[in-house]
Each structure stands twice: as structure tokens, then as C-alpha cells.
């Protein structure tokens, strides 16, 4: 790490976002900025609070091009943001022409960049430790962000250690898909975290199906009041499902044996179930898993050691080159339980109570700490 040479004399710092970005909701930006400050508050005695009027220590602005400080932004890519060391005022400016995103593999992650910039606002220069938050280059979205020891040493050299009992929040929950905070318990899902099917509906709610029951997931685990009975709430839907996905038309498809059911929200569409042979020609019965890859709108089916790619716009919808081996998906196991492309852009594969995260840009199972596969009970069901 490297210290610039100035630091704040006070421990209670204030901030205000005086200009919000075009492409994000104000509340979402507020939450991400707060989380970014918390990265530093968790490992020091510093505290950060937002105030709506008067002078603040750190002013935050999303700006384009020249914005009054003689250091113009350069459009998408290149420079993403800059911030001023304490002696120069501590302000942080973000290039509003970047595609700022939250919990998504696409675009530029606001939380990570903000946490980096606030490191400058607190007195840290760039680190030559490549894994450090204060390294100058944007590494892409890290759903399971963990502050590096180099960053902790740097900030504690300026402001000391956190004197009271430390809070375990140096690891940011992978909200919106993956590691979760551990809220409501998954009940029987915690005894055996293997699942039948998992699907995100068109309303962005994610449901897990297992045996005769289903659960709605939240960012903290499972929603209160679950599990509920599949037969009671999903008219005509059988137990012990094979797989499910929601297509780009907003309809959710459930598969079991040789049949499939189509639902609009929680209501079964008329005429269902239908045979897989009829609706998904080229796809076998008794599939293990299915998901829609948003990158191309194609549906991927998995069974045993093979997978099929189904393109509803083509005739035939499954090319002759399929099935192919699942081993083409580096790091993925055979005989999956189900798969899901989550709202953060990552694809998650579930099997025997564990899950793998697939990075479709690198086209391999993600490497991260802790390593994949991870226990689905802990990271997804709040166990």
C-alpha cells in the first residue's frame, strides 16, 4: 500500500451525493455508496454519515467530460473516476458516461469503484498489490468482494484499528445471487440443501422447488412463511419437478418426466401440460436442469453427461451437433439438479446441496474465495 501523506483529523466523516448518475435509481446509488464507505468503516474507527445540507467532508458527484476541476473525464472506458486526498478536500467524482451497475457482471460495478475512490478520499494512494482494492485497474465485478489485507494495513496505518469488537462485514454479501446474509432459515432445505428446481420469475422473484414444497428466496435467505405447498399455490403443477426456467416472453416453464407446464406468474396457461417432444423437439425427457442464457436468448438443457442448446427461432431448434458433453463447460459436474441465470448476470448450477458459479465471459467455473462449489444452504437458503 501507499499513503499519500494526508489524513482526516476527525473520525466522524460526512458525505453527500450532490449529483446522481443518469442510469441508476437514487435509492440504489445511496445504498451502494453507503456500502462502499462501510468497507472502510468496518476495519477502522471511522464512521460515515450522509447529510442533506451544509458543508460535508466528502462530496460525491457523477459528471461528464470537463466538470470544473481541470481533470476532464474521457467517456466510456479509460478513466472511470477520480477522488481527492484529504488535503485536497476528499471529493469523489465518477464519470457519468460509464455504464454503472449494481450486482451485475455487466457494466462497471459502482460499489467497487466507489470503495476504491473513498480509499483516496481517506488518504490512500494506489497500491502495487494487484489483489488490493487500491490497485488502480478495474478488475471487473466481484460478487463476493473481500477487502485485501494490504488495504486493511494501509487504512489502519492512517486511522488505527477498530477498537471495539469488529463486525464481520469486510465481506460484502453477494446480494441478488449467491452468498447471502443468513436471514430466515430454509427449514428442511437446511437439512438437505439439494433441490429439484430453481427459477426466477418475470417479477424477479426467485423460487426453489423441492419435493412437494417451494420457497421464495430473499437476499437474506428464504422469505418468511415458507415453505409452502406446490399443489396449494401452483394450480396443476406436480411435485418432484425436474427443472424450470423463465423465457424472454416472461412465461415460466416447468419440466417433469416427458411433460412441461407453462405459467404466467402463478397461473397455469391453458392447454398445459404438453409433451416435451411436442414443444421442445430434440430435447429428451427427464432432464436434469435448464436455464435461459440472457446473452443469446437460447435455452440450455442438461441431462446426465450431456447438454442441448435450444433456439426457438431456428428450424430445427436443436442443431445436429447436439448433444454435447457437459465437460465442455469447464469445472461443471454432470448430473445437475438445476441451473439458473440470476439477475446479476452470473449462471449458477446446483447439485447435491452445492452450487457452482459460471463466468460466461471467461467460459469456465469461477475461481473465488471461498472456492466453488459452495454449500447452497449457507449461501442461498440462509442456513
Amino acid at each position: 500500500y501507499a499513503l499519500q501523506g494526508s489524513r482526516w483529523r476527525v473520525k466522524e466523516l460526512t458525505y453527500r451525493i450532490t449529483k446522481y448518475p443518469k442510469g441508476l435509481h437514487k435509492n440504489d446509488v445511496d445504498r451502494e455508496i453507503e456500502a462502499a464507505f462501510k468497507v472502510w468503516a468496518d476495519v477502522t474507527d471511522l464512521s460515515f454519515s450522509t447529510v442533506n445540507s451544509g458543508k460535508v467532508h466528502i462530496e460525491i458527484r457523477f459528471e461528464k467530460g470537463e466538470h470544473g476541476d481541470g481533470d476532464p473525464f474521457d467517456g466510456p472506458g479509460g478513466t472511470l473516476a477520480h477522488a481527492y486526498f484529504p488535503i485536497y478536500g476528499g471529493d469523489a467524482h465518477f464519470d457519468d458516461t460509464e455504464a454503472w451497475t449494481i450486482n451485475n457482471i455487466r457494466g462497471t460495478n459502482l460499489f467497487q469503484v466507489a470503495a476504491h475512490e473513498f480509499g483516496h478520499s481517506l488518504g490512500l494512494s494506489h497500491s502495487d498489490v494487484q489483489s488490493a482494492l487500491m490497485a488502480p485497474f478495474y478488475r471487473g465485478y466481484e460478487p463476493n468482494f473481500i477487502i485485501d489485507n494490504d488495504d486493511i494495513q494501509g487504512i489502519q496505518a492512517l486511522y488505527g484499528q477498530k477498537p471495539a469488537r469488529p463486525t464481520p462485514a469486510t465481506q460484502r454479501p453477494e446480494t441478488g445471487g449467491g452468498p447471502r446474509g443468513g436471514g430466515a432459515s430454509g427449514g428442511s432445505l437446511c437439512r438437505d440443501a439439494s433441490i429439484d428446481a430453481i427459477v426466477t420469475m418475470s417479477d424477479k422473484e426467485t423460487y426453489v422447488f423441492k419435493g412437494t414444497e417451494y420457497w421464495k428466496l430473499t437476499d437474506d435467505g428464504v422469505a418468511q412463511g415458507y415453505p409452502k405447498s406446490i399443489s396449494a399455490d401452483w394450480q396443476g403443477l406436480p411435485s418432484n419437478l425436474d427443472a424450470a426456467f423463465t423465457w424472454t416472453n416472461g412465461k415460466t416453464y416447468f419440466f417433469k418426466g416427458g411433460e412441461y407446464w407453462r405459467y404466467t406468474d402463478l397461473v397455469r396457461d391453458t392447454g398445459y401440460p404438453k409433451s416435451i417432444e411436442k414443444g421442445f423437439a430434440g430435447i429428451p425427457n427427464n432432464i436434469d436442469a435448464a436455464f435461459v442464457w440472457s446473452g443469446n436468448g437460447k435455452i440450455y438443457f442438461f441431462k446426465g453427461t450431456h447438454y442441448w442448446r435450444f433456439d426457438p427461432t431456428q428450424r430445427p431448434p436443436v442443431k445436429e451437433s447436439y448433444p454435447k458433453d457437459i465437460s465442455n463447460w469447464e469445472g461443471l459436474p454432470n448430473n445437475l439438479d438445476d441451473a439458473l441465470q440470476y439477475s446479476n448476470g452470473y449462471t449458477y448450477f446446483f447439485k447435491d446441496g452445492e452450487y457452482w458459479r459460471f463466468n460466461d465471459r471467461a467460459f469456465r467455473t469461477d475461481t473465488a474465495s471461498p472456492e466453488f462449489p459452495r454449500p447452497a444452504g449457507y449461501w442461498w437458503f440462509g442456513c
Binding site: D69, G77, L80, D128, Q130, F137, Y138, R139, G140
Partner: protein, 91 residues
């Protein structure tokens, strides 16, 4: 992730601008109005400093990996403050 939207830096001239902007070269030397002749050794030394900071092999050459790293999206704050005081001013 990390793939640049645009490939701004493609040769020595744009690399010099980059190295100057982020603190690896003296702005007084690279200022086109100064008329200073920049020595090859100076350029190589600056490139090597950048390569060391970016975790690359220190070849001193503007090779493919070095250009790729220079085109990565990044923070606009200088990596090194080696040429006089950092003249940034708030507002």
C-alpha cells in the same frame, strides 16, 4: 470484465501521454511546448516503472501486455507522485 471499451493507447505518443498523466514521466519533459528531446532511456525507464507497478515483466518495451494494461478501465488518480507536488485542487 476489464475489457476496454476503446483502445486509446496504441503507440509511443499516446503511451507517453498515459505515462505522464499517471505520474511515470515528468510533465515538464513531455509537454510538447517545452521542445525537450525525450531520451529513449527515459521512456524505457518509465515504461519499466509502469510495468513493475502493474505486475508485468519489466521489459521497458511497449509490448502487447503493457498496451493492454494501459487500456484497462482504471482510476484517474496518479499512480506515482514523483514530479513535484500533486497540484490537484478541490473544485
Amino acid at each position: 470484465s476489464g475489457v476496454p471499451v476503446k483502445y486509446q493507447i496504441s503507440g509511443t505518443t499516446s503511451a507517453l501521454v498515459y505515462l505522464t498523466k499517471f505520474g511515470y514521466m515528468d510533465p515538464a519533459v513531455t509537454n510538447p511546448q517545452s521542445g525537450a528531446l525525450i531520451s529513449g532511456d527515459n521512456v524505457r525507464k518509465s515504461i519499466m516503472e509502469f510495468q513493475a507497478f502493474a505486475g508485468l515483466n519489466q521489459t521497458g518495451d511497449l509490448d502487447k501486455l503493457t498496451l493492454e494494461m494501459m487500456n484497462m478501465p482504471r482510476c484517474g488518480v496518479k499512480d506515482k507522485v514523483g514530479f513535484g507536488a500533486d497540484a490537484r485542487k478541490k473544485r
